[in-house]
Symmetry: C2
Subunit: 407 residues, 2 copies
């Protein structure tokens, strides 16, 4: 177990953030994760980090804050918080986030407080998030178990057993315990990049998603779009992997091109609340109707945040036979669930164009890129999902049949 | 135990910081203390706190930072750190610090790195510390056990037993477990204030300390000095108790009036290293010779920080029969050891004058107040300590005989 933990820490540092000699590393994690943060910090110093800065949070204190703080604080962001992120982003630091939160952390708290908090925080950190999504610096997100989360995933087990099972699932998902994970990931990155390049070569103008859940959705893709897999290049000059694990190949859609209906295939943990059985109806790119059998008020609050929240920002393809999907575990955590399933995101897009380096935000928007304070992934993959691409020449090409790549 | 912990948390909030309705509360603590921070936060919200902000640190990460970070980082302080403290200080927030650190946390690290870190941090936070020592806002320091600290105090016990014994000692020292601690502390504050006022009424011009360790030290006191006990008044308008526990009555000395020799009576945990058997020789207020049998290099590095580090900033009287002293435990932690023993501090003075409210820093210095980036308490009390005061009229009055108050 100790060796697995060390390998995982090293994977996060060497493949996830790809920490370079002389680079500052910023780690965000829960206070209860300190034991693992220490291992990540050791691995970062081993990689030559200049310094390791840690930002600890705590689930219970976060929940208490939402339940008990003065209502006015949710419209404010203390100035030192954007100063913190700006300072390290400007240095080209490597940002590592270790997740472990309860998927229902904010159950029973006021959706209005959550919405106002998201608006004020997203606005205060807009330039940081813009830089992050534009890969101005390397960043990565990974996860470790905590009791509340593990017990949600494995409700029939004791807390200790649930944590053990969740560790096993995470190690399997991130390829720890099968040899040198860094070497395994290098190979994986090359394989996925080849598939992404093959998709980009088609330059599909349209994608059609269909399955027996009722999904019947058409999306259009902007000119010179680029399908991206793990192994992105930061403007600091290094490659990094933003999510550990990752199985997705993704691209931005044209903002106003989406038409039809899509059904989510998994529950979504959104702002510490579960939203179940989502159905979206689109017209001219916009979500004109949002439905859900549970947590609809949280979904609606998120969609209200700004105009861009009702438009799509990401299309991501994940085979139904991906290793994480095959585990057949509902993680209630987007980092894992999104890598078990094709998904879309509403809100801000990543600028995945073949030629983005010198483009301004305005030019990117003119090319069809959606902007918003939010970015929320939701899972739509099923065993029977089919995706058909249409090329500029009008040729129809099967991309997915029965939930898996055929292209 | 749970009830004791809750009582302790409430004591820290209601008596220590004396949190008011609508006030922001800032808690600094180690990540491993999160379980107790949650109780303090609950107590703060119970008291009507507007919001609770937490700043977690971690001993192991701090040690790693001193051992492995790039040497240049010890001369820098990221801008967001002073911004953090300034922002909350300007709001009149209540600052709570929960200590638990290993007294030898930085053993074996480079004293030069520690010194440069102390200089850069003290400079960056000078205005915050000035405000704190001038009681611009309420602040308090308390402690909870952690394994490394507890095992240092009780080296013959298992870690679990050591933690249990240290909890017992802390609860005894802070009067938890004997009824309502808030009521007990209200009475204690009144008793100690009466004694401090009696000392101030004498307006001693000189104090002479003597014992069989070899201490033979004369200090002079500035005009209109004020002996202060727990229960200080913040400029935000509320009383607070800066240290939980506290048994001391203290005053500032005249900067240049100290002559003679003083021997420390306990080891000192200074910057994560133990300094043992300190002997200081003073001339015209200045430490002209510093000796120690262990950790002298750390003591010297601290005295080198600036000119004011070699002058005294505090005289504190604690009876040898104080409750904490009677436990006969060497805590290796100033918060406890200083309340078991008379002590002095070298470095920055608290402005303990009868009339300070409208004085500038320059006027305070002209009246004999020492300024420095450092403030380090060291213990000098013994069972045979005698202290004699001399009044302006030349009358000699016994203040301490055989280690205890007689005045």
């Amino acid at each position: 177990m100790q060796q697995h933990l060390k390998d995982y820490a090293r994977l996060i540092v060497q493949i996830g953030a790809n920490v370079q000699k002389g680079q500052t590393v910023v780690i965000s994690a829960s206070a209860d994760s300190a034991y693992f943060v220490r291992m990540v910090a050791e691995a970062a110093y081993d990689a030559g980090a200049r310094d390791v800065v840690t930002r600890f949070f705590d689930d219970a204190l976060t929940r208490m804050h939402f339940l008990r703080a003065d209502s006015a604080v949710f419209d404010e962001v203390p100035g030192w918080i954007p100063a913190f992120f700006r300072e390290y982003a400007d240095q080209g630091a490597a940002f590592i986030r270790i997740e472990s939160s309860d998927p229902e952390l904010l159950l029973g708290t006021d959706p209005d407080r959550i919405q106002r908090n998201n608006i004020s925080t997203s606005k205060a950190l807009k330039s940081y998030y813009d830089k992050m999504m534009g890969n101005a610096f390397p960043w990565t997100i990974a996860a470790i178990p905590a009791e509340a989360w593990a017990s949600k995933v494995f409700p029939d087990l004791s807390p200790g057993e649930a944590i053990e099972r969740l560790w096993e699932a995470i190690f399997a998902a991130v390829h720890v315990g099968k040899g040198d994970p860094v070497a395994i990931w290098r190979e994986k990155i090359a394989t996925m990049a080849a598939r992404a390049n093959a998709l980009s070569a088609h330059q599909f103008v349209k994608l059609h998603f269909q399955n027996n859940l009722g999904t019947d959705l058409t999306l259009t893709l902007p000119e010179a779009h680029k399908w991206v897999a793990c192994g992105e290049k930061a403007k600091t000059g290094t490659n990094f992997v933003a999510n550990i694990p990752t199985e997705e190949i993704f691209v931005l859609p044209d903002r106003i091109g989406t038409e039809g209906v899509v059904y989510a295939s998994m529950p979504l943990s959104l702002n510490g609340n579960l939203v179940e059985n989502i159905k979206f109806t689109f017209e001219k790119g916009k979500i004109v109707k949002a439905e859900a059998t549970k947590g609809l008020e949280h979904l609606e609050k998120e969609l209200e945040i700004d105009e861009g929240a009702r438009y799509l920002g990401e299309i991501a393809l994940v085979p139904y036979h991906s290793p994480i999907s095959q585990m057949n575990i509902l993680f209630y955590n987007t980092l894992f669930d999104e890598n078990a399933s094709c998904h879309l995101a509403f809100g801000r897009a990543y600028p995945t164009f073949l030629d983005t380096d010198d483009r301004t935000e305005e030019e990117l928007k003119a090319r069809g890129m959606n902007d918003s304070l939010v970015h929320v992934d939701f899972m739509i993959g099923t065993a029977d999902l089919s995706i058909t691409g249409t090329t500029a020449a009008g040729e129809e090409i099967a991309v997915f049949v029965d939930g898996n790549f055929v292209v």
